[in-house]
Symmetry: C2
Subunit: 462 residues, 2 copies
């Protein structure tokens, strides 16, 4: 078992400006200890909570980031670095992350404006990480959040990830499989993700299998002969009901049938009846084909006898909200031995200065009541617990990453602790998140007379 | 220069069922010569044409696909392959693609129902390629198509890709940078993509740079001292107009200022006036921040004096249509020395049997009039030219991939040949694509009395 070490993470997978700025910090004497905060500005339109994911790949990147000699040589050839002094290239050649990282554990529900991760390191070091960190945490948080809704909508029926072919590239399929598992999926069709992350590999057969034999019945029989314990036949290649009758011939050992087209509600009922009448009461019905949380909820509301949902495109692309406003912002900087707060006031994109902690209030049953974003030092009350935990200290990993099955279980338990209204598919009133009085003061002092904008409760709309 | 050889492409980046089916074909004697067709079922809601992209990475995958011993060992450990005879694992160990691939050249406009690529190989070989092929061609076709709209909307002003941080993972950022360049972007912020594909690397500076210094004016001066020829300062960290006045102090050598927030129309005008009044008529204005083709068109309609657009999230996630219904379907199979046509009749997902060619009709100026999807052998008339070309023959590359700048130029020229209505941002009547009489007959014969459904002209809607 490994955690994605073989994933692509060369040092040049970053934006040009991260390196021009890093050069500037190295050369301008402005390379003090900095704190950057990674957060999602506000929840997207169709989400009432997010599920944090991607930390493990982010941490592997941070700990292993090195600039190879040929990468540095190539950088020298760019017009931007034509006259850059040698000290910057030495900085790159010697690069080892030596700072601290705090983060919320994977699987934790998070909300708009909350710090999901915090990097404390010399400015140039912390700056360089931005692009990759955002990229790998953005996609996994995006997909884990979507998957959590899909799995929740299935009310205990299994959901498996079939999305690799339409994820945004091969690596995206792998990252999505991992995130979907965190969000509650039971397995993935992606073999690389299965091997790397220990996610159960699942699969049925494609239409091409049925088309490859003279008859559907023969195609089914051949498959069953080869994989007698795990046969799930796809019955909609020609005619779904005839397909179900052909499946009957395989007998009671048939594990399942899959329906991938047509009106799934009607077809699943008709197929269930054919199977039951034929004595295959234990044969499961798997449904697939452009499924999402809304369609699954509707099918179950209508009583469709579907046992397992194969979900692909809609989940792995988070199709109704295919991006998050995830940002990585400088909030604190040490200069001449003195720490000062930093915030930008860009219209509609203001940031809140200083290191922070999420303080989560729960009732006596553990149910989440509200969050206060405050300073790390000041616990607002005995009822509040900190959510961000130390991950890397002085360049060394001090956090024990749980197994992915543990992350998945934790995410499920935490979802169960959310207010019920957040689990409705239609977005209602959001979860209460406020800034502490101290943070408000800090923002006011930095900006002058302006009142501090609170974390945005409203969702983004297009 | 290389074309992405270092991208991730292990053999296990595929779906489980591709390998169970491949095992079945190897073991069932059903491993005849097959033809699979890759196409997009129908255009998504907000697209009137697609730009084919991703072929080069698909071909590299096909030519280099090998199963490593440790991958095969891991497969043996899966429950599905517990009893699988050795002949299948030998097939994997010896895997070399030995078939043919035809495809439309990258940058070619394509439409719903048209074959974008065709793989002809022994069934098991062709089957295994499905997941990776779809994945790498789907994301690039998706992003190239979106970028083409964005660039077209900019009416000659430059568009650059700033999207790596919110693409669906690090590799997706790279693939998106490549596809966006094919779609017409002038550069990318992604250094890995710049190095691998020869795309110009572009970048400005982030808010953190400004926040890192005691004053904005000092931050600007420091940057300009380091990068005098390429300084583009970000002026909206505190107050955009004051930022513009601070930028003035850098003098006429200032290449550009970037505005990333607020009302870009008003701000760009105010900033233009400050720059012009200060004698910086040649300093460019770069705009960024949740831009897409609609916002760019609106800004230009309103006369916003913006010279360059930095486009990120909306383009690299193809946010309004974040997936395509791209499929890979068996259309022909040789059995006992006799070739027969294959098609599935699944409700709403019927496929059209047999090998095909796109025949494109043009007027005397080269403008595209209509397409006929027909057999490869039968050119419908003297005015029609074939669009699919041979790429791999008997396992060897016979196609010369053009340089990416040539692909970009070709894509631009081909876009100029499309009917003007297809380039409107709002989807109107689509481009006419019909099946040839021969294909219709073939479908009818296979299905019996049913009439052949024509390629879908209508767009998908949610």
């Amino acid at each position: 078992m490994y955690s994605g070490e073989e994933l692509l993470r060369p040092a040049l997978m970053t934006d040009l400006y991260q390196l021009t700025m890093a050069a500037g910090y190295c050369l301008s004497g402005g390379n003090g200890e900095a704190v950057f905060e990674l957060s999602v500005r506000s929840l997207p339109e169709y989400r009432s909570y997010l599920v944090a994911a991607g930390l493990e790949q982010a941490v592997e990147y941070i700990l292993h980031l090195r600039f190879a000699p040929e990468e540095i040589e190539w950088l020298r050839s760019l017009p931007a670095f034509r006259d850059t002094p040698e000290v910057f290239f030495r900085f790159l050649a010697d690069f080892r992350f030596g700072g601290d990282v705090w983060a919320v554990p994977e699987g934790t529900p998070v909300f708009g404006g909350e710090p999901i991760a915090e990097v404390r390191a010399p400015l140039a070091q912390a700056q360089i990480l931005e692009t990759f960190l955002l990229s790998v945490m953005h996609v996994q948080t995006l997909v884990a959040s979507k998957a959590s809704r899909v799995v929740d909508a299935a009310r205990g029926r299994g959901v498996v990830d079939f999305g690799s072919r339409r994820a945004h590239g091969p690596e995206a399929g792998i990252l999505a499989a991992r995130a979907a598992f965190i969000g509650g999926c039971a397995g993935t069709s992606n073999l690389w993700a299965s091997r790397a992350f220990g996610i159960p590999a699942v699969g049925t057969a494609a239409h091409s299998w049925t088309l490859a034999f003279p008859s559907e019945a023969e195609a089914f029989a051949r498959y069953h002969a080869l994989f007698p314990d795990s046969t799930v036949v796809l019955i909609d290649t020609y005619d779904t009901l005839q397909g179900a009758r052909n499946a009957l011939r395989l007998g009671a050992g048939l594990r399942g049938v899959r329906i991938d087209s047509g009106d799934l509600r009607t077809r699943s009922r008709e197929v269930r009846k054919i199977l039951d009448d034929g004595g295959l009461e234990r044969t499961q019905i798997v449904a697939s084909g452009d499924l999402n949380e809304y369609r699954i909820a509707e099918l179950l509301r209508e009583g469709a006898p579907i046992d397992l949902f194969g979900v692909g495109t809609e989940m792995v692309t988070s199709r109704d909200s295919p991006s998050l406003g995830m940002v990585y912002k400088l909030v604190e900087l040490e200069e001449n031995g003195r720490t000062s707060f930093r915030a930008k006031f860009s219209e509609g994109k203001e940031t809140c200065p200083g290191r922070k902690q999420i303080w989560r209030f729960r009732d006596e049953h553990g149910c989440c009541l509200q969050d206060e974003i405050g300073t790390p030092e000041d616990c607002p009350s005995a009822g509040a617990a900190p959510v961000l935990v130390p991950i890397i200290e002085r360049g060394s990993l001090t956090y024990r990453f749980p197994r992915l099955t543990e992350v998945r279980e934790y995410a499920r338990a935490e979802r169960d602790c959310l207010p019920a209204r957040l689990r409705l598919l239609e977005a209602g009133p959001g979860y209460p998140v406020r800034w502490s009085a101290k943070l408000e003061d800090r923002f006011g002092q930095l900006r002058g007379s302006c009142p501090a904008p609170q974390p945005r409760q409203e969702r983004e709309t297009d």
